[in-house]
Structures are given as C-alpha cells and as structure tokens.
Symmetry: C2
Subunit: 170 residues, 2 copies
C-alpha cells in the first residue's frame, strides 16, 4: 500500500490552483492541490504503519507552524513538462521536510526538495510553453500560515485518501 | 465555506465501492468512498470553525472505536436513484452520529440517519434497477474496526479536502 505526506493549503489557494489543474493537470481528480513533503512510499504491514505514524507525530510535535509563500509560477522543463506554483524555500519548511525524511523515516527519496504546488503536468510541449508564458506575467503573491499536514494512502484507482492529519507544534 | 464529517473506511472497502462508483456515481471524483456522519453545513468564520473543531474533538475523545459491518446493497429509490452499501445500524454508530449532531453541533439535519456508503447516484431508472438487481445477488459481508473520522471542507469545484482527522477514544 502506498503512502505519502503532503500539506493541503487553504481553500483560497487550492481554488486558484484548481482553476489551472482542471485543464492542465492529468492528476487533477486524484488528489487536491498540495505540497508534497514526503514522496510516495510502500508499507505493507499494519505494525510498520503504526511505527511510521508515531515517528511522524513526533516530527509534527517538535515542528513549528510556518509561513507558506507562493511567489511565482515555474516549470520543471526539460526534466518534465510540469508547471507549478513556486513555494518560497524557508528554513522551517526545509527542516520539516528533512525531519520527515531522515532517521526512521529515511525511505528512498528520488528528487531533491523543491517545494511546489503542481498546476499542470504531462503537458504537450507547445501548450506548456504557451501557459507558462502567460503565467509568468501573472502577479502571484499569496501568504498563509500552515499549521498541519496529512498522511495519505493511495487507492487502486490512483486517488488519495487522508489517513491522518498532524497538527504542527501541538 | 461548506464542511462535513465522514468516515473513510479501509482501502479494501473503498476499492470495492470505487469499482462501482467509477461507473455509477456522478460524485465519484469529488470525494473518496465514505459514510457521512454529519451532513454538509456552512461556516464562514474562522473563530466559529475553531469552536466546532473543539466540540468535534470532545465527541471523538468520548466515543469508542466501533465495528463497521457492511451487510448488503440497497437503494433509496423512489426518494433518489441512489445505490448504496448498507451499514449495520449499531448503537455505537448511532451514538456517534447523535453526538456529532446535537448540543453546539446541532445544525440543520435534513435526513434521518441511514448509515451507508453510496456506490451509485443520479442514475437512470432502468440502469439503477438492473444494477441493484445484480448487486442484491452478490454476497457482501465485510467487517472492520473504525478508529477515526474526518472533518472535510469543500472546494469551489465540488471536491472535498480533509481538514482534520479525529482519533476515536484518544
């Protein structure tokens, strides 16, 4: 069974992201707009899940709520034809990401951490260039406080369900 | 902003429900398979949300994990052309539902409580009759322990995001 850890931002930011995602993101219907804090990982044993939950809870307790700032749109091209909202790389966010991926939570990590909210993926090159060109000219300056994150699991159809939310610093 | 409270059952039961939902449920992509414990309600004020969360947390703390038993498929016809998995009406489940809809949580409640997991809705009459006819002959006997439920909020596109999970009896 596949699990992952993510932040779901406010409804306001999710609605903005979805206004693009519904047209440009092939995973639009699989999961709400989010910032991935821990890449998908496999767990097949309930006891193991309990250990992971305890470790994550400890990380949450010892972390502090942080400011989420979205500063511009960007793209992972040429690695992938993905467009995303770039999230400011704050120390708090990197610390939280590090804690969720080290020690007993140190599973495989494929990418270096680029905090972001995907708004388009698997796009055709021409459309991606067209959309990012327009988005680069849009002013985006959103800030909010993040005080929670979620452990999710994936169903057979590829959609994600929240298993547990963790309040940061509680 | 619209909120609701629901139980998400195990991946196994969700996968089974989704095998029908993807064909017969118009809300398939809006929310994972669930049992509604509190019908959607409006909250527009952050302070009010905090009060509601505190009340729900108290309900969760004072409740006990319960057995979820799915016993057969049924339909709300002629009220609506909906097909659902019927959930056994246990005292624990009714108590939890009652607590989540009384006192400071007593908002409008439209329907009497029939615990269920919807697998088809807004169906054409003929197709509904055909599908429920087949499902009535299927053996379904699933049981699991429910130890958590979720407070969700709705985005502009109709999808639901989990705001917080509550561990029952913790």
């Amino acid at each position: 069974m596949k699990y992952g850890v993510a932040v779901f931002p406010s409804k306001k930011l999710q609605d903005l992201a979805n206004s693009y995602r519904k047209r440009y993101d092939t995973k639009y219907a699989k999961v709400p707009p989010h910032i991935t804090l821990k890449e998908p990982f496999e767990l097949n044993d309930d006891r193991k899940l309990e250990e992971v939950v305890l470790s994550i809870r400890k990380v949450a307790e010892n972390a502090s709520p942080f400011q989420l700032k979205v500063i511009k749109y960007s793209t992972f091209y040429p690695t992938t034809n993905t467009i995303y909202m770039k999230v400011e790389e704050t120390k708090e966010l990197f610390d939280l990401h590090h804690q969720l991926n080290s020690g007993s939570l140190n599973f495989v990590q494929e990418h270096s951490f680029v905090p972001h909210i995907t708004v388009g993926q698997d796009m055709m090159y021409d459309e991606m260039q067209d959309v990012i060109g327009r988005l680069k000219m849009e002013k985006i300056s959103h800030e909010e406080t993040i005080d929670r994150f979620s452990l999710l699991y994936q169903l057979d159809d590829g959609t994600w369900t929240t298993y547990e939310t963790f309040l940061i610093g509680k």
